[in-house]
């Protein structure tokens, strides 16, 4: 019995050493030794530099740190632009998502009747997206249709994809333009004083 346990332990040890060697190899496989005879080692790195811009007229853009549209009215359009540059060492795939949607009252001094009635800006915000890199477009689509339906009504863990795959070679720069419109035909008085919080605008990049 004890001999059997010993054999098993040796097998596990060999397996774990093998696993360790494999993962070490994977780590080194993506590393680039610029100069083997020199102590300087440059590792291959994925890095995308992203800059967000905002505009009210789609002409003059200013740098922004977040999506922020306050006290808008039906008909309001806000334009955004993401400039994504592959500053890493390998080609990348980039995906852009809006993640986590939560309804709330815009101003506690105003009425909360519309919020309590369950109305959400989700259903009256239209989204558009185009970019100078691939053919993916979103053409004035209601935001709620971009997100899988949640029977619970909780969309705090849901995400809407703006761009699914931007393939950027090293040094390439793509510009993604997107906009939010408060639809004047959909948003009536029953959408006053509502807020939609979006947890994050996330730009993920992975190596090709």
């Amino acid at each position: 019995m004890s001999k059997k346990r010993m054999t098993l332990s040796i097998i596990v040890l060999i397996s774990s050493v093998f696993l360790f060697v494999l993962t070490s190899f994977a780590w080194f496989a993506i590393s680039d030794f610029i100069n083997v005879g020199n102590p300087t080692i440059d590792l291959i790195n994925i890095e995308a530099t992203v800059t967000l811009y905002v505009s009210t007229d789609d002409v003059i853009y200013n740098e922004a740190t977040e999506i922020s549209i306050s006290n808008s009215i039906p008909g309001t359009v806000m334009y955004y632009r993401l400039v994504i540059e592959n500053t890493g060492d390998i080609d990348i795939h980039t995906e852009i998502d809006l993640y986590g949607f939560t309804d709330s009252v815009a101003d506690p001094l105003g009425s909360d009747a519309n919020y309590l009635a369950g109305n959400s800006l989700f259903d009256v915000i239209r989204v558009s997206q185009s970019n100078n890199w691939n053919s993916e477009v979103i053409n004035n689509v209601v935001l709620s249709t971009l997100i899988p339906f949640q029977p619970s009504g909780d969309y705090s863990q849901s995400s809407a994809t703006l761009v699914e795959d931007l393939s950027l070679a090293v040094g390439n720069t793509a510009t993604v333009s997107f906009s939010f419109t408060i639809d004047g035909d959909l948003a009536g008085n029953d959408y006053q004083n509502l807020m939609l919080e979006i947890t994050s605008l996330a730009i993920h990049s992975v190596g090709q």
Partner: protein, 199 residues
């Protein structure tokens, strides 16, 4: 023997954990995430508080031409966080005798044919059937504060005739607001005054 097994097990665990750490590092090099947190989109609202109104009328109230109908000046307080527009419409019962005595509901436009006098704030400008605050293209700034609308309203004794004797009259003031720019007007409040003749 048992000691060796424990030693081998510990060594295996160390190698596995080291592999997991190495895997984490490796994966780390392959993924980049840029995150813009705390985004929000909000829609403003119209926040108007009206005050003032008519004297107490009712079916048994006997009204005399020239008698003031406004009990206290009709004002409105704008605390909206967005640009907005405001307009007022005044309708009243007009009795005239043309072969037969007949009544109609007409819109007050301060014309010579009107049978009522309305003391309107100078900022209210007539366009069509409505008096627009500051003109029909004027936009009120957010939180613009208190505005006087109507200080006086009565049937003008110099133009109302015996035709009115024993008849009922109704006066309606409708105040409408909307956000600046697009979309339609919606009623904010309606003031009604009516009289009757005692039987």
């Amino acid at each position: 023997m048992k000691k060796r097994i424990i030693l081998l097990s510990v060594s295996s665990i160390v190698f596995i954990l080291a592999s997991i750490v190495m895997l984490g590092f490796t994966y780390g090099w392959w993924v980049s995430l840029v995150n813009y947190p705390d985004n929000e989109i909000s829609v403003g609202d119209l926040r108007y508080t009206p005050s003032g109104g008519f004297i107490t009328g009712g079916a048994s109230y006997v009204y005399l031409p020239g008698e003031e109908l406004i009990d206290s000046t009709i004002t409105i307080d704008n605390a909206s966080p967005i640009d907005s527009q405001l307009r007022v419409k005044i309708e009243y019962t007009k009795w005239t005798f043309d072969v037969t005595l007949q009544s109609e509901t007409v819109v007050y436009t301060a014309s010579a044919s009107d049978h009522i006098y309305v003391g309107l704030d100078a900022n209210l400008q007539l366009v069509g059937d409505y008096y627009y605050y500051g003109g029909d293209s004027n936009v009120l700034s957010p939180d613009s504060g208190l505005m006087t609308l109507i200080t006086s309203l009565y049937y003008d004794g110099s133009v109302t005739t015996f035709d009115y004797a024993g008849q009922e009259v109704t006066v309606t003031i409708t105040i409408e607001v909307k956000q600046g720019g697009d979309l339609t007007w919606s009623d904010l409040i309606g003031y009604d005054f009516s009289t009757g003749y005692p039987e």
